[in-house]
C-alpha cells in the first residue's frame, strides 16, 4: 500500500509503486515499512533515478523543511529519506504540508516498527507500503541471476540469511569472489564457506542440545553450545532451572533400584526414557553434588555474591 498526498489519499501496493516508477509518475510522499530493507533501498534508488535526483538522509525534517517548498536556481531534485521522523509522525500540519512540496522532491518516511495504537497508523494504515521478506521462489530467482547455485543451495542460503535479500546478496558476492579466487564452481564455494563457518550462521536456541551435551559429558560441545546459548540471549537462570530439572531426573533414574522406576520416582515414561540416555556418564554422588552446587550458585546470584554471567561457566568447570 502507498500514499499520494498531492491528489488526495489513494491506496497503493508495491505493484502500483512499480507502475509509478515505470510510468515515471512518482508521488510526493511515501511511507515504507517492513523488514526487507534492501528492497526499500532499491525502490528509493529507482525513484531517485527517474526524478534525476540525489538521495539525501537528513537527521530530521526541520533541517530541510524550507527547501521542500522554495525553488532557487541552485535547487536540485532530491529524495529525502527519514527514519521514524517524529516531526512527520506526530504533526498533522506537517503531514498535510507535505502534500504541496515542490516538484522534483519526494519524501520517503521509513517506519522501523508500526505502533498500531498510534493516530498516525490509524490514519495511514491503508497507505503504508510494506516490504515483507520475499518468497523463497522469488529469492531463488534473484540468487540464480547472480550465481550458479542449485535450487537446493539457494533454499539453504535463504534459510541461513532468514530470507533477507540484503544479506543474501552479500553472501552471494562472497561466494562469487571465493569461487574466483579458488578457481572452483559456485556450488563448491558455497559448501566450502559453509564448512569453514565463513558464512555467518545466526545463533539458534540450542538450550536443549546444550543440556544434552552437558549430561553426555562432552566438554567441547558443551562449551560450544553454551556460547551459542549466550549469543542467542538465553537467560542464565533459565539454563540453571533446566539443568536442575534434567539432573534431578537423571539422578532419580540412576539411583533407582526398583524395577518399577515410574512408580518409585513419580516420573513419566517419557522423562525416564530421556534421562536413561545419559545413565552412567556421572556418578550418583556427582549428581547429588551438582544439585547442591546449583542451589548454592542460585542463592549466590540472588544475594549478589556471584555475577550471573559467570555462574554457568563456574558450574560447568566445577562439575563436568
Amino acid at each position: 500500500m502507498g500514499i499520494i498526498l498531492k491528489k488526495g489519499v489513494v491506496k497503493l501496493s508495491i505493484q502500483e509503486l512499480k507502475e509509478d516508477i515505470k510510468n515515471k509518475t512518482t508521488k510526493s510522499f511515501y511511507i515504507f515499512a517492513g523488514e526487507e530493507h534492501y528492497a526499500q533501498k532499491i525502490y528509493i534508488k529507482k525513484i531517485a533515478e527517474i526524478n534525476n535526483a540525489n538521495v539525501v538522509y537528513p537527521d530530521n525534517l526541520s533541517d530541510i523543511y524550507q527547501s521542500l517548498f522554495t525553488t532557487s536556481l541552485l535547487s536540485m531534485n532530491s529524495i529525502y529519506v527519514f527514519f521514524d521522523d517524529k516531526d512527520i509522525i506526530s504533526n498533522e500540519k506537517v503531514q498535510s504540508a507535505l502534500k504541496s512540496i515542490r516538484n522534483g522532491c519526494v519524501v520517503v518516511l521509513i517506519l522501523s516498527k508500526q505502533d498500531k495504537r498510534s493516530k498516525f497508523y490509524k490514519t495511514y494504515k491503508d497507505d503504508i507500503i510494506e516490504f515483507n521478506p520475499m518468497d523463497k521462489d522469488v529469492l531463488t530467482r534473484h540468487i540464480q541471476k547472480e550465481a550458479e547455485l542449485s535450487a537446493q543451495d539457494c533454499c539453504a542460503l535463504c534459510d541461513i540469511c532468514e530470507n533477507d535479500l540484503g544479506r543474501i546478496l552479500l553472501e552471494v558476492d562472497k561466494i562469487k569472489s571465493y569461487a574466483e579466487a579458488k578457481n572452483i564452481n559456485h556450488s563448491d564455494a558455497f559448501k566450502s564457506l559453509l564448512n569453514s563457518k565463513d558464512i555467518y550462521l545466526s545463533p539458534k536456541d540450542v538450550i536443549f542440545d546444550f543440556i544434552g551435551a552437558y549430561l553426555s559429558r562432552d566438554i567441547r560441545l558443551t562449551f560450544d553450545l553454551l556460547k551459542e546459548c549466550e549469543d542467542f540471549g538465553t537467560s542464565n537462570l533459565a539454563i540453571l532451572s533446566l539443568l536442575h530439572t534434567n539432573i534431578k531426573q537423571l539422578f532419580q533414574v540412576q539411583v533407582c533400584e526398583s524395577n518399577n522406576i515410574e512408580k518409585t520416582t513419580g516420573l513419566t515414561q517419557w522423562q525416564i526414557k530421556c534421562a536413561s540416555k545419559y545413565l552412567g556418564n556421572y556418578k550418583s554422588g556427582e549428581l547429588a553434588y551438582m544439585l547442591k552446587l546449583l542451589h548454592n550458585i542460585e542463592v549466590n546470584i540472588k544475594t549478589g555474591l556471584l555475577d550471573e554471567s559467570i555462574a554457568i561457566h563456574d558450574f560447568i568447570v566445577n562439575t563436568i
Partner: protein
C-alpha cells in the same frame, strides 16, 4: 484488629505528642496486621490514606509526586522489601524530607532486604508477637475443628487461615510420614516428595513454608519421646536454614526443596 494493642497505643501517643515520625517502617510477618494497623492509625489521626497498589518504580514515583501536591495525608507502601533497588532509590529523597508535613508508612517482612540508606531515614517498629489467647480468639471466631494442631503452628491470624485451607490431620500425617521415612527410602523415592509441595500457587498442594514449619513441629514432638534427640535437632536446624533461604527474592523453590531433601538425608543417614 487483633492484638497489637501496645504498639498501637505507643504510635498513637507519639502522634498526640507531635513526635510521630514522618517516615515509619513497620516490620512483621505477612498477615501480622501491618496494613490494618496502619489504616486504623491513619483514621484515628484524621488523615487521608494514599496506598501504593504495587511497588513498581513508576507507581512509587507517581505516588511520591502526588505527595508533593496534597496535605494531611499518609502514604502507605505495603511490602516495601519487595521493591527493586531502582524503586527504593526513587523514594530516597522523599523519605529524607517528606513534603507538606505528610507521612510515609512502609511495611516490610524482612528489614534486611531494605536498603540501609532507606532504613537510616526511618524509625523502625516491630509488630508484636501474637499471644496465644489472641490467636485462639481469632480461631474461635472463624473455625471450630482442628484447633489444637493449628494453634501449635500458626503465629499470625493469616497463618491460621492458610493452615485451615488444608485437611490438617492429613497434612500432619503426611509430614510424619516424611519424617519417619525420608532417610529410610531410596533417594529417588525421597525426591518424589516434591510432587506434593506447591512451588507456585497450586491449591491442592502444601506450601513449602507451611511444610517446613510442620516438619519442625513434628520433629519437636518426636524428639520428646526419643532418646536420640540430636537426630531431630539436626533436622530442625537444616530446615531452619532452608526456611531462611526461602525468603530470598525469586529463589527456585523446587531446587531448594531437593537440596533440603539431600542435606537432610546426608545428616540423618550418617
Amino acid at each position: 484488629m487483633i492484638g497489637q494493642n501496645r504498639l498501637h497505643n505507643k504510635l498513637y501517643e507519639l502522634y498526640k505528642r507531635g513526635k510521630f515520625p514522618r517516615f515509619t517502617i513497620l516490620v512483621g510477618k505477612v498477615g501480622s496486621g501491618r496494613r490494618t494497623l496502619s489504616t486504623e492509625l491513619v483514621q484515628e489521626f484524621g488523615k487521608n490514606l494514599l496506598v501504593c497498589e504495587d511497588v513498581k518504580v513508576d507507581t512509587i514515583r507517581s505516588m511520591t509526586d502526588l505527595l508533593t501536591r496534597v496535605h494531611d495525608s499518609v502514604l502507605l507502601i505495603p511490602d516495601g522489601d519487595t521493591m527493586s533497588v531502582n524503586a527504593e532509590n526513587s523514594i530516597l529523597k522523599t523519605t529524607e524530607e517528606v513534603p507538606n508535613d505528610n507521612y510515609i508508612i512502609m511495611t516490610v517482612s524482612d528489614i534486611n532486604a531494605v536498603l540501609p540508606t532507606i532504613r537510616s531515614r526511618a524509625l523502625v517498629f516491630y509488630m508484636e508477637v501474637y499471644k496465644g489467647y489472641e490467636l485462639e480468639e481469632y480461631f474461635d471466631s472463624k473455625y471450630k475443628t482442628q484447633k489444637c494442631l493449628v494453634m501449635n503452628l500458626a503465629t499470625t491470624p493469616y497463618e491460621i487461615d492458610r493452615y485451615m485451607k488444608f485437611d490438617m490431620p492429613a497434612f500432619h500425617s503426611f509430614v510424619e510420614n516424611v519424617v519417619d521415612n525420608v532417610a529410610e527410602v531410596s533417594c529417588s523415592n525421597a525426591l518424589k516428595i516434591a510432587q506434593k509441595i506447591a512451588f507456585k500457587d497450586e491449591e491442592d498442594k502444601y506450601p513449602l513454608d507451611l511444610f517446613f514449619n510442620m516438619f519442625n513441629y513434628v520433629c519437636m514432638t518426636e524428639m520428646r519421646g526419643f532418646d536420640n534427640a540430636e537426630h531431630y535437632i539436626h533436622g530442625i536446624s537444616i530446615t531452619e536454614h532452608y526456611l531462611s533461604e526461602l525468603k530470598i527474592k525469586g529463589i527456585n523453590k523446587a531446587l531448594l526443596f531437593d537440596t533440603w531433601v539431600l542435606s537432610l538425608r546426608k545428616v540423618w543417614l550418617s
